[in-house]
Amino acid sequence: MKTDQPLIQALGIHKTYNHSHVPVQALDDVSIDIHKGEFTAIVGPSGSGKSTLLNIIGGLDHASRGKILIGGQDISNLSDSDLIDFRKNNIGFVFQSFNLIPVLTAIENIEFIMLLQGTSKAKRSKRAIELLNAVGLGDKLHSRPNQLSGGQQQRVAVARALASKPAFILADEPTASLDSQSANNLLDIMQELNQLEQTTFIFSTHDPRVMDRAERIIHLVDGNIEKDSYTNGNIKQPTLKQLP
């Protein structure tokens, strides 16, 4: 599902942390292109730099050197407030520990992201309901996170990530807190969204179930890309209806 123009370009990314005054090289000259519609997993052992790379691609962290181009726009030199705006309008996030707002219901959690974008109330509600239906939680619109299982919460998180119609979704260990059944259900949904909507997913994971589904796997070791390979991915037949 690739197009010629890369959606994301990481060019010569270096990242060095100062850990107790000792410089630690997290990423060392990493360059990758990710195209629209890719279902990519960045894998590697702990400390290999996969979360750092994801954070830099997501505009949550700055590279020490190198550039990140998203849709041709260099985000490396954006100010913190510009980055917040950029993330709001271009990137969807799915976190390991779901990170829903506990005082809001499922539908409100999804609407909240659109509210930040200034979407009208009517449009927010309509899209939030459609997204929750798409992830199989049409009957949990008004449930608060503590009334949902881990798998259900993560599905709400996916719906929330899609709410802002982002250019791509970054998912940091999305299945790590889920049981096997929930993890598979979640991956089914993500994979189907990828196929139907051409939604670009980039995972940071060590979960073999994610690797099994990924079309492309980027192996990071000690801050370097050790291997970057395309696979067929374990593609299932889509069951979701196309989103509006």
Partner: protein
């Protein structure tokens, strides 16, 4: 939705929020009640002083003002005419004031004899209501006097006792007269009025050689305290050779008392607000730090720092002002109850009387003070919100999201 989130966030930890709300309720209630009590005390003191001592305005000759000599009198008729023409004047009382040495069979004491028109004086200074023994003046007794219980006790005299008064007449000659005590007055001690002796003005005129129109003092009571300044000005412009003073100028202690009490209340208000600030900061910091992860997520998904700041400020204001109306309601109810039945302070009655106050206090509080308390709590909440809110916007989203 920001408001909704902020409001719901307050109730994440209901016990903690309720403790802070209860503290605010009790604090606001206490502030209102103490303010009401103090206001009642000050107002009681001022109205006592006005009715017993100073009236609202006093008119003297300039010389009398300086040396308090009986000879410095003035023609009261033009002043009375001026007062009669004004619709802002409630009543007035012409007075002759004589410093005397009073002799009883067992004691001698300096006192001030005040010659009064019985009816006019009672409309300014309701002395008849303070008679505890005996009666008011009648024409059957020559030179009748009313003295305070305190003076009677000091001079070891009682009702119907005779007292010899020695004093100067208008010409500076010493005259002596025999007075008879026809009544005892219960007046507040400590402000000098317990040393006053009241007698009919006509009798004192004949003893001092005053003309029928001459007086030393004209005590004026206005219909409203608001009229005092303006009317004082008018009088001053009309009677340039006379000294016209209002009650604050005559007895600075009245003003001082008010200032002292309000100063005390201001200090109390500031202390309460300081305690409130620290209470709110403590609670909000706990609330914010336990949501570190969530706040990081909000920044990650695109909530800008202004909105985040606003959310924390809203939470702080909500948690602070929830207790405010309850505290105000409780405080105003308490004041209303004691306004009706009065707060009995019998235990401290003696001490209060020494300061010219009564032992039954009627708390009262103006809407302005309620407003000041409400605004103070609001501003305090706003100030208290700044530190936690500032802490939140400095969160690094990556650190926060990864924090367990």
């Amino acid at each position: 939705m920001l408001i909704k989130i902020a409001w719901r966030n307050i109730w994440r930890n209901p016990l903690r929020s309720l403790v802070l709300i209860a503290a605010i309720v009790i604090g606001v209630w206490a502030l209102i009640f103490i303010n009401g009590l103090s206001s009642g005390m000050v107002d009681g003191y001022i109205s006592n002083a006005i009715s017993n001592r100073t009236a609202h305005i006093q008119v003297h000759s300039l010389q009398f003002e300086r040396d308090n000599e009986i000879s410095h009198c003035y023609n009261g008729i033009p002043v009375e005419d001026f007062l009669n023409q004004s619709n802002k004047v409630q009543s007035y009382s012409p007075r002759i004031i004589v410093n005397s040495m009073m002799l009883a069979s067992q004691s001698t004491l300096g006192a001030t004899i005040i010659g009064i028109d019985s009816i006019a004086e009672d409309s300014v200074n309701p002395y008849k209501s303070k008679i505890t023994e005996g009666k008011s003046f009648d024409s059957s007794i020559k030179y009748p006097i009313l003295i305070s219980e305190y003076l009677a006790d000091k001079m070891k005299v009682k009702l119907h006792s005779k007292l010899i008064g020695n004093f100067q007449n208008k010409d500076g000659d010493i005259v002596a007269a025999k007075f008879r005590v026809i009544g005892l007055l219960n007046v507040a001690k400590g402000d000098g009025q317990e040393m006053n002796i009241l007698t009919p003005i006509d009798g004192l005129r004949s003893l001092t050689g005053f003309e029928d129109t001459e007086v030393n003092e004209m005590a004026i009571l206005m219909k409203d305290v608001e009229f005092i300044s303006e009317f004082q000005q008018q009088l001053s412009e009309r009677f340039t050779s006379l000294s016209i003073k209002n009650y604050k100028e005559i007895a600075p202690d009245i003003n001082l008392m008010g200032i002292q009490i309000y100063l005390g209340l201001t200090v109390m208000l500031v202390i309460f607000m300081m305690a409130l600030i620290f209470g709110i900061i403590n609670t909000m910091l706990m609330a914010v730090l336990e949501r570190y992860n969530e706040l990081g997520m909000l920044m990650a998904v695109g909530m800008n720092k202004t909105k985040l700041f606003l959310m924390i400020v809203l939470e702080t204001i909500f948690i602070s002002i929830v207790g405010l109306p309850i505290g105000i309601l409780m405080g105003s109810t308490t004041i209303y109850i004691y306004q009706q039945k009065g707060l009995q302070l019998d235990r401290w009655a003696k001490g209060l009387e020494e300061f010219g106050m009564t032992s039954v206090l009627y708390p009262q509080l103006s809407l302005t003070i309620y407003g000041i308390i409400a605004v103070s709590v609001f501003i305090t909440a706003l100030v208290a919100a700044l530190y936690p809110a500032r802490k939140v916007i400095n969160i690094n989203p990556i650190d926060a999201i990864n924090k367990l």
